[in-house]
């Protein structure tokens, strides 16, 4: 085809494409303006906080800013033996500035986290400087080394050097019970102090089982909802949605009333003689309670996507399957079930993602086993105020969810999700 025939002109002689773009431009701008508030909102409440969380989780600029001359001098130091004179001199002048600004205490605390013993030797150095015991015309290295024997220990100087980079992954390592050892390698925390890995596994386990239970219970309900006559299905739908209309705390509290050892369910078991009065099973403050309460609370998120998919499946498909010779099971398994996969995918993904970030319910009904990773995040946000660690764990959770989403996309395909 020649180029002349390719380009179509309007009657005014303007190329059609140009003309079309011009005509559509106004509409495009209008459409953009309509979604602009939402985009802005999403940016402010979502993209920006996540970015902020990320910088906070890796931020380690404090010491970098406190000791600029030290780190400049340390660049040439190989870190094997005691640093040369100019490093000591740099540290001395940096520290003097900190003393003048009265921020030297923070440095001591921060360095103490890196290596125990820093607090006392920095304080000792501070007193010497305040008393003007350091003669700047002499070798500063010699004088500092005299202040305390630890200043003569190369390990302490190595610790300072490790804090040089403005960014650190230490918080992320801490999240999986690891840390940077003195020589800069990654090491595991002592076995009796590994708490986070247990929490991660427990969170995954609970989310997985809650998803499975929700699926097992939600599938028949959704099927019933989709096939019952309207007047019954509406009633059932209200029953399914009822939890949505009640506060999460109220629902959790009612489960506590139901499940505790002197609770309604146990009373009933004793009444019908299922269990003896003195051997009432513990259904709360353990995983059973967490599973029961979370499954009930998250069930609607499984039922609704399933229902919306099942509603679109024509009942004649099952009939066709049967009339063609398939037993009811074959017709279900080969015809009905594959068609509900988009709903299953959406429901499971939704429930799993919600469950992985749950913390009020498990904390209230789960007892000792109810501490999940979200509780840990909240604990560091509110109690220890270690926001950078909380951010790091939050981001790890987020990336975990993204990984699951990615796996799901590989297996089922995101296009196959149907939320409603």
């Amino acid at each position: 085809m020649s180029s002349e025939t390719k380009q179509i002109l309007t009657t005014d002689g303007i190329p059609l494409e140009v003309s079309l773009k011009k005509a559509e431009k106004k509409n495009k701008i209008k459409a953009f303006l309509l979604v602009a508030p939402l985009l802005l909102f999403l940016f402010i409440t979502y993209v920006f906080p996540i970015g902020e969380m990320f910088t906070r989780s890796v931020d380690d600029k404090m010491i970098t800013n406190m000791l600029p001359k030290t780190f400049k001098a340390m660049e040439k130091w190989d870190g094997k033996e005691l640093p040369p004179e100019d490093v000591f001199a740099g540290f001395y002048s940096d520290y003097k500035v900190l003393i003048e600004n009265q921020t030297q205490g923070k440095l001591g605390q921060r360095l103490n986290k890196e290596k125990n013993g820093f607090n006392s030797i920095t304080k000792k150095l501070m007193r010497q400087i305040k008393r003007n015991k350091i003669d700047e015309s002499q070798s500063i290295k010699e004088q500092i080394m005299k202040v305390h024997k630890r200043w003569r220990d190369v390990e302490y100087w190595q610790a300072i050097k490790r804090t040089a980079p403005p960014y650190t992954m230490a918080k992320y390592l801490k999240g999986v019970d690891m840390y940077f050892a003195a020589d800069g390698s990654i090491a595991q925390v002592d076995e009796d102090r590994r708490i986070h890995r247990i929490l991660w596994l427990r969170t995954l386990e609970i989310a997985l089982f809650v998803t499975i239970f929700c699926f097992l219970m939600g599938y028949p309900i959704a099927h019933l909802l989709a096939t019952l006559p309207m007047k019954y299905s509406n009633l059932l739908m209200i029953c399914v949605l009822l939890p949505f209309w009640t506060s999460l705390l109220v629902r959790t509290a009612s489960w506590m009333i139901l499940l505790q050892q002197q609770g309604v369910v146990n009373d009933f078991f004793v009444m019908i003689g299922l269990v003896a009065d003195d051997s009432r099973p513990e259904m709360m403050y353990n995983k059973v309670g967490t599973y029961v309460a979370m499954t009930q609370i998250l069930l609607p998120f499984m039922v609704l996507p399933l229902y919306s998919v099942m509603k679109t499946i024509s009942p004649s498909l099952m009939r066709a399957g049967k009339s063609l010779g398939g037993t009811p099971f074959v017709a279900f398994w080969k015809v009905y079930f594959p068609l509900t996969i988009p709903g299953i995918g959406a429901g499971c993904l939704l429930v799993f993602i919600l469950a992985i970030g749950y913390y009020i319910t498990p904390a209230l009904v789960g007892g000792a086993s109810g501490t999940l990773i979200s509780n840990q995040i909240a604990y560091h946000m509110k109690t220890t105020l270690d926001w950078s660690f909380a951010s790091a764990m939050g981001l790890m959770l987020l990336s975990g969810v993204l990984v699951i989403y990615w796996i799901y996309n590989k297996l089922v395909g995101v296009d196959n999700i149907k939320l409603g």
């Binding site: 066709a320 049967k322 010779g325």
Partner: protein, 361 residues
């Protein structure tokens, strides 16, 4: 091979959904082997219920259904071996055309080579070779329809049920599919039970037609007889066009009777009237009444033209005749066409044999 005239038998079948209303009343119907029988009727007449009972998706409230002499009321649908084409095709949307067709064969544990052969044969029957790997969503309505037909036939069922299978197609496609299904039936000789509410479809395709109304078979006969000799007013009204006169039998002798209208008396064919004084509705096909007849006819009246509608191959003329302002005439479009104008007075004649005195409406 002698054909079994009672291959499918509905024996005194009743069906009620709510225990109050009978949807099907005392149905007695025999379907011969290899026959193409159509259940025709307005919606709610019970025809689809009959089909569903035959397929096994509904159970008769009373009575038995027999297939080749065996009672099948207690056999579940998947063991009946009856093929079915559904109204909306019911193709499995997540399977390819091949998998759709292979489904009934796979559940019967037929070997792969055999399945390939049968699928290929069924697809060539509906001229859809080469479409094996397509998904149903990628096919046009007519193609989906053909796949559905092929799927219902691929496992060689003794009976194929079709529930308004052409309802969703446009007019031209529907007509060509009617012929296609008819030809498939003729070439493989399977027994077909077809449900439709479209009378022209029924007339085109069937060996026999069962006209349903109000849960009952009103008339069961071949298309020509159904059209020419309806046994009651409902059938006359439902099949084809129909002019009616309501009156009272004033005289009856053998097949012939006189029906007294408000302002005239017409000679009619006594079908369901027995004695003098009975109320009756006289039914007359539009094409059986002639304008300005040249030879003598039993009934000759004059009426005023109310409306002339040009239809291409024929012209419809609405005449006010004997107090019936809706009297329709069909005038074929021939060269010797009469000049027909509104408010013109014309003579209309018909023979008593064609005017059927039926039960009163």
């Amino acid at each position: 091979m002698p054909k079994n005239p009672e291959f499918v038998k509905f024996d005194k079948v009743d069906k009620s959904y709510d225990g109050k209303v009978l949807v099907v009343k005392d149905l007695q119907l025999d379907i011969a082997e290899g026959e193409f029988i159509t259940m025709l009727g307005p919606s709610g007449s019970g025809k689809t219920t009959c089909l569903m009972m035959l397929a096994g998706f509904e159970t008769p409230t009373n009575g038995e259904i027999l297939l080749d002499g065996n009672i099948i009321s207690n056999i579940p649908p998947h063991k009946r071996g009856i093929g079915m084409v559904f109204q909306n095709y019911a193709l499995f949307p997540h399977m390819t055309v091949y998998e759709n067709l292979a489904f009934p064969l796979r559940v019967r544990k037929i070997e792969k080579d055999e399945i390939d052969k049968k699928v290929d044969k069924a697809l060539s029957m509906v001229s859809l070779n080469g479409f094996e790997t397509r998904m149903p969503g990628q096919l046009s309505g007519g193609q989906q329809q053909r796949v559905a037909v092929a799927r219902a036939l691929v496992f060689d069922p003794a009976v194929v049920l079709m529930d308004e299978p052409l309802g969703a197609l446009d007019k031209n496609l529907r007509e060509s599919m009617q012929y296609e299904i008819k030809h498939i039936h003729e070439s493989i000789g399977v027994t077909v039970v077809y449900v439709t509410h479209d009378q022209s479809e029924a007339l085109t395709m069937s060996n026999r037609i069962a006209v349903f109304n109000d849960g009952k078979v009103q008339q069961l006969s071949n298309p020509a007889e159904l059209y020419e000799k309806p046994v009651n007013s409902f059938v006359a009204e439902f099949i084809g066009e129909n002019n009616t006169f309501n009156g009272e039998v004033s005289d009856i002798s053998g097949d012939e009777c006189k029906v007294k209208l408000s302002n005239a008396e017409i000679l009619s064919n006594a079908i369901s009237v027995k004695s003098k004084g009975e109320k009756t509705t006289v039914s007359l096909r539009p094409e059986r009444a002639l304008i300005e007849p040249t030879e003598k006819m039993d009934n000759m009246f004059s009426g005023k033209i109310e409306e002339v509608i040009y239809h291409g191959d024929h012209t419809r003329v609405r005449v006010n005749l004997l107090g019936n302002p809706e009297f329709i005439l069909k005038v074929p479009n021939s060269t010797s066409n009469l000049e027909l104008k509104v408010s013109q007075e014309i003579k209309i004649g018909w023979n008593s044999y064609d005017a059927r005195a039926l039960d009163p409406k």
